[in-house]
């Protein structure tokens, strides 16, 4: 619901689980009462259907490190990204922010793979799929969530919701197809 405190409601047992990311680990450690600390755990996402390989996919969302095409010195920017991605810097970032690193080697050296609460996220990281790098993605993701809400609340059945979602997303991408076709014609 809308304005309750997530951690208080979880501690009070008003809900049993939620889908979230590693950024919440520190908050749960800090905000849940000490007697709760041994009574909660993390797990990778289940697959969409029973019998499918475990775990299910998650999406590696966001692109926080980018180089602009029109950057003044793209080589320097790229070197900076390389520096930030080095294990030493990732370990320091983990130390400073608690945010989990993207590199496997840092997981091992920092002992994250041995902590059961973070280990689930390492398993999930191996089954993460990047989101499509198109400007329409944010809108499509919102539309997917709406379709999910329609099915969850019983406003539409699954097949109808999927058909409508498919038609809407196809329409959202019409402009992109036109632009790609035009670019292909211009450069034979």
């Amino acid at each position: 619901s809308t304005s309750g405190n997530l951690y208080q409601d979880f501690a009070a047992g008003r809900f049993a689980m939620l889908i979230t990311g590693p950024w919440n680990l520190g908050e749960f450690a800090r905000r849940l009462p000490p007697e709760m600390q041994d009574r909660w755990a993390t797990a990778p996402l289940p697959p969409p259907e029973a019998g499918m390989p475990y775990p299910g996919a998650s999406h590696a969302g966001g692109a926080s490190l980018v180089v602009f095409r029109q950057a003044r010195s793209p080589e320097a920017a790229w070197r900076w990204l390389e520096y930030l991605s080095e294990p030493a810097q990732q370990a320091r970032f983990l130390e400073l922010t608690g945010d989990l690193p993207a590199r496997r080697s840092v997981w091992r050296s920092a002992g994250l793979a041995d902590d059961p609460k973070t280990a689930a996220f390492l398993v999930q990281l191996e089954h993460a799929v990047p989101t499509p790098k198109v400007p329409e993605w944010e809108r499509i993701a919102t539309r997917i969530a709406q379709a999910g809400e329609q099915v969850a609340r019983g406003a539409k059945d699954l097949d109808a919701a999927l058909a409508d979602l498919d038609a809407d997303v196809d329409r959202m991408l019409e402009k992109r197809r036109w632009l790609l076709d035009r670019a292909a014609e211009a450069a034979p």
């Binding site: 619901s1 809308t2 304005s3 309750g4 400007p135 809108r139 809400e149 609340r153 402009k175 632009l179």
Partner: protein, 295 residues
């Protein structure tokens, strides 16, 4: 002064205002109309050469989009539910504040007007708690009568009512102040004559106060109608248009299309549909007023 030089003086005097209206109203209006005939979007923001002229396609797509009809219905429900609610609260409050028996009328006028000037985002935090099914005062009060808690903002059936109540609460103070002015303008001789004829308080209200307030009521209702047709901040802050788009208004849909997804052409088409709707409705209200006067 000759008539011609008088006319020239008049034009000179209104010229600055006309120029401002032309620059800030007519030009954007024409630009928006043109925009609504294109598919100006996020790609065109980067390079205007990516925009296409599409004729009336934006309007045709709106007509074929079930979401648009849902949103249109929502907006009409906001207006149909909210205008009587706001008008009733404003009139009732004005009668109370203006009553001979009222104590501290100045204080109450200020109190009732306070929501109009309060920042909605701050107010929304309080209202979200009021509507909360577990911690909210409203559901706790209902619980005293054995009514089970209602999840006001997450129930598609109730969310609209909850948002309309908030919108009415936020605007009725403005109408109230105008009604108080209208009440003060009613000549006391009418009340004296009514008292001499032996009219009771109900008769006085029905036969003198309300008919005399009619022009004020039309003015306030036009104002509230236009405001409710453009309702945006309340659903944006409270529910983001959810659940299941149950509280998405036309303006909220236009905002999302235009400034969240950058479909400016599509958003401009929505704006023109809203423009036509408001024009038609206020025209109807003013027309009703004229007919009422003639009768």
């Amino acid at each position: 002064m000759s008539q011609r030089s008088e006319a020239r003086a008049a034009w000179t005097l209104v010229a600055p205002a006309l120029a401002a209206i032309g620059l800030f109203f007519a030009v954007p209006l024409v630009a928006a109309l043109f925009l609504s005939l294109t598919d100006f979007d996020i790609y065109a923001v980067a390079d205007a050469g990516n925009a296409r002229f599409v004729g009336f396609r934006n309007y045709l797509r709106l007509a074929a989009d079930p979401l648009f009809w849902t949103v249109l219905r929502n907006t009409l429900v906001f207006v149909v539910l909210g205008v009587p609610m706001t008008l009733g609260a404003a009139l009732g409050g004005a009668l109370l504040v203006h009553s001979r028996h009222a104590r501290l009328p100045g204080l109450f006028r200020t109190v009732f007007f306070a929501p109009v000037v309060a920042t909605l985002v701050a107010v929304a935090v309080v209202w979200r708690y009021l509507y909360h099914p577990r911690y909210g005062l409203i559901d706790q009060a209902l619980g005293l009568f054995g009514i089970p808690p209602i999840d006001w903002l997450s129930d598609p059936g109730w969310a609209m009512v909850a948002i309309t109540v908030l919108a009415a609460w936020r605007t009725f103070g403005y109408g109230l102040v105008i009604f108080v002015v209208g009440l003060e303008a009613i000549p006391t001789s009418l009340y004296e004559a009514a008292a001499l004829d032996g009219a009771g308080p109900w008769q006085t209200l029905r036969d003198i106060t309300l008919p005399q307030l009619r022009p004020t009521a039309v003015f306030v209702s036009v104002l509230v109608t236009v405001q409710l047709f453009q309702i945006f901040a309340e659903p944006y802050v409270m529910t983001r248009g959810g659940p299941l788009h149950a509280t998405t208004s036309i303006t909220l849909l236009m905002y999302e299309q235009g400034f969240r997804w950058w479909n400016m052409g599509h958003a401009a088409a929505i704006a023109f549909v809203l423009f036509a709707l408001i024009l038609a409705t206020t025209g109807l209200e003013v027309g009703l007023r004229r007919r009422g006067r003639a009768a």
